[in-house]
């Protein structure tokens, strides 16, 4: 029996397949302006890549902000439950998750069985999310993927005091005008975003070991800043971004 999970995020769409409780494969594409199409496309691409036909799939669960737009899914569940299940599937020891995605960031508390006990999400504000980093990367003319490398080369991180994305952007622009080192500005941006996310983790009194998931987990600078802020190491897997889709596939196998 093969099960699928599809996670339509605000920036990327992810899909995962599991068979006999083992991961078969994952796929990631950009969501773009059409979440309905993104769901179909990412699913088709993953089937093709895994050489599996649609008829072999027993059940599908969709998740993420576009979860309702995946009409061929058997059920839609929130990314909170899916990230919890995904993290527990990848590593049953995990008790806490910090998920930073494009549109929001969250901290999740798991009980010993991998069930969500409590969670906290960012308020109606983009600070501390992937979108915040994207806006900053653009202002600094750096590829989003390279933000992490840049910040690791900082010698004196700049201080970004604004918590609002819009105000922080103008703060960054004035730093550029003052010719502060780009590496330092980027490190400062990560520290500012990490401070916001750490509040969520502290709010629910997160328990170790903590896994970081979501697209932003690929950013080494951000992981670094978060670890410094929290005072402990985070577990970051190779499939951090696909974790929600993996969790959705696991939950589909339990339908």
């Amino acid at each position: 029996m093969i099960y699928a999970g599809i996670d339509i995020g605000s920036i990327t769409a992810k899909a995962a397949l599991i068979k006999n409780n083992r991961l078969l494969g994952t796929h990631v594409i950009m969501t773009g302006y059409d979440p309905i199409n993104a769901g179909i496309k990412v699913f088709d691409a993953l089937l093709k890549q895994s050489r599996i036909s649609k008829t072999q799939i027993s059940a599908i669960i969709s998740t993420g902000y576009g979860r309702a737009s995946v009409s061929f899914a058997d059920k839609a569940l929130t990314e909170i439950i899916c990230h919890g299940t995904g993290a527990h599937f990848m590593n049953p020891e995990i008790r806490g998750i910090i998920d930073v995605g494009g549109q929001d960031s969250k901290a999740i508390f798991l009980d010993q069985n991998g069930q969500v006990e409590n969670f906290a999400m960012n308020d109606k504000c983009a600070a501390g999310t992937g979108r915040f980093l994207e806006v900053m990367a653009k202002a600094l003319e750096v590829d989003l993927e390279l933000l992490g490398d840049f910040s690791l080369a900082a010698d004196k991180p700049s201080k970004i005091s604004s918590i609002c994305t819009v105000f922080a952007e103008s703060e960054v622009i004035s730093m550029i005008a003052k010719q502060e080192r780009r590496e330092n500005i980027i490190a400062g941006i990560h520290e500012s975003a990490a401070a916001r996310v750490a509040i969520l983790a502290n709010k629910i009194k997160i328990k170790k070991p903590v896994m970081m998931t979501g697209g932003v987990a690929k950013n080494k600078g951000m992981v670094n800043s978060l670890e410094n802020r929290l005072g402990f190491k985070l577990i970051v897997g190779d499939l951090a971004q696909e974790n929600g889709a993996i969790g959705a596939a696991v939950l589909a196998s339990k339908l």
Binding site: L77, T78, Q115, N118, K124
Partner: protein, 409 residues
């Protein structure tokens, strides 16, 4: 078939209440023609002396709720901001202040006041809000200052508030140029007491499983206990509503079709999203069976003396839910969770209502520690929809319900 069922679920008394409210506002609109005076009063203020003096009480906060429910809040809030008020100011205050100027809103603005009665037992914002209106309408303003009872109602507080109640009566005598009628006051007091008892009984019916109504209905039926407390109209209406609820219990009619989970709501409603929120919870087979908001209008009944109403007014109006310490508030929330057998708590962190939202993180912590129940915090505003993000709230509610289902199933 399903149409018939949903028709059966409708609460019949709703029409009657709408009619009563329409008559109430029409009477107020034509008060001048009938030589009657109008007092604007804060939602937590002692209204009974006004009723005893035959003064029509008008509630800008009830009007604010109407503005929110008719989705006219954004426009009126923006108008207030155009006038120079901060977007951080309470949206009831913003909507009311701008409505006075532009005569907008669902009923074309409130009838003009002859006096203003401001009691700060619900918040501090009302002081400045009522001062603004006193200048705008050029009418006398009476301020009743009720110190917060963090731990107890001390003799000093009792003396301080009682002195103001005496001043309140003197103020009314001066403005109306009539003597205060203590006999009528006693009668009004008895009616107010009876209406509060009945309102509490109506709210108590939701302890039954499945619940005959939800907090969304309570938000609606609340209007009379606020605006017509102290009249026979309110007593008669709540008797009828109570009868209907008891009949629904007998007939097994529930408000949520397949009620499986029972939740408690904290803070004011999100007036412009009532329908969406009620559908959202109903889709999860969850019923908001009770709330801390509507019960505030009968919560201080233990301090009210029905045979000496005017003598107990000071204490009853000082010890209301929003004017006590956070530990006591949490205690009330815990009592409600037990009484209504709730599976979780939904808290509305209301950008407008600072005193209501301020202690919520502590209450949340206390509830989690004492009951281990899931608690959800939704960020929104009671009237200004610019502080509400539907997709974010939706994800939070869905995730919260997934956790409750995991725990219970």
């Amino acid at each position: 078939m399903s149409d018939k069922l949903s028709e059966k679920r409708k609460i019949k008394s709703a029409k009657k209440m709408r009619d009563i409210m329409t008559t109430y506002y029409l009477d107020a609109m034509t008060a001048g023609q009938n030589n009657k005076q109008i007092a604007w009063i804060t939602s937590g203020g002692p209204v009974e002396p006004l009723v005893a003096m035959d003064i029509i009480p008008i509630y800008p906060e009830n009007h604010g709720a109407m503005i929110g429910a008719s989705k006219m809040g954004e426009d009126l809030c923006i108008k207030a901001e155009d006038m120079g008020y901060s977007s951080d100011l309470c949206s009831y205050a913003r909507a009311d202040i701008s409505c006075s100027v532009v005569k907008g809103g669902p009923i074309g603005g409130l009838p003009e006041p002859d006096m203003l009665i401001c009691c700060n037992n619900i918040c501090g914002t009302v002081l400045k809000w009522y001062e603004v209106q006193a200048r705008f309408y050029n009418v006398p303003l009476f301020i009743l200052d009720t110190p917060i009872c963090h731990t107890r109602y001390s003799p000093e507080i009792a003396k301080y508030v009682q002195a103001q109640i005496d001043e309140y009566i003197a103020f009314l005598e001066k403005v109306t140029k009539r003597k205060f009628n203590y006999e009528k006051m006693a009668e009004v007091g008895r009616l107010a007491f009876e209406a509060q008892l009945l309102w509490q009984k109506v709210l108590n019916t939701t302890a039954h499983k499945p619940s005959p109504m939800s907090a969304f209905d309570a938000f609606f039926f609340l209007a009379l206990i606020v605006t017509l407390r102290g009249t026979k109209i309110a007593v008669d209406f709540y008797k009828e509503l109570l009868g209907e609820m008891e009949q629904r219990i007998k007939d097994g009619i529930s408000m949520v079709p397949n009620e499986k989970y029972r939740l408690l709501w904290d803070n004011l409603p999100v007036w412009y999203q009532l329908k969406w929120l009620s559908q959202k919870f109903s889709d999860h087979n969850a019923c908001l069976v009770a709330d801390t908001y509507t019960s505030a209008w009968c919560g201080a009944i233990q301090y009210t003396n029905k045979d000496n109403f005017i003598g107990s007014i000071a204490e009853a109006y000082t010890r209301i839910y929003l004017n006590i310490g956070v530990d006591q508030m949490a205690g009330q929330v815990l009592d409600m969770i037990k009484f209504y057998n709730a599976d979780g708590l939904v808290m509305h962190s209301n950008r407008s209502c600072k005193p209501y939202s301020f202690g919520q993180m502590d209450i949340m912590k206390i509830v989690r520690e004492k009951t281990n129940l899931p608690v959800l915090m939704i960020e929104a505003d009671m009237v200004d929809p610019r502080n509400f993000s539907q997709s974010q709230v939706e994800t939070r509610i869905d995730a919260f319900m997934e956790i409750i289902k995991q725990k219970n199933d």
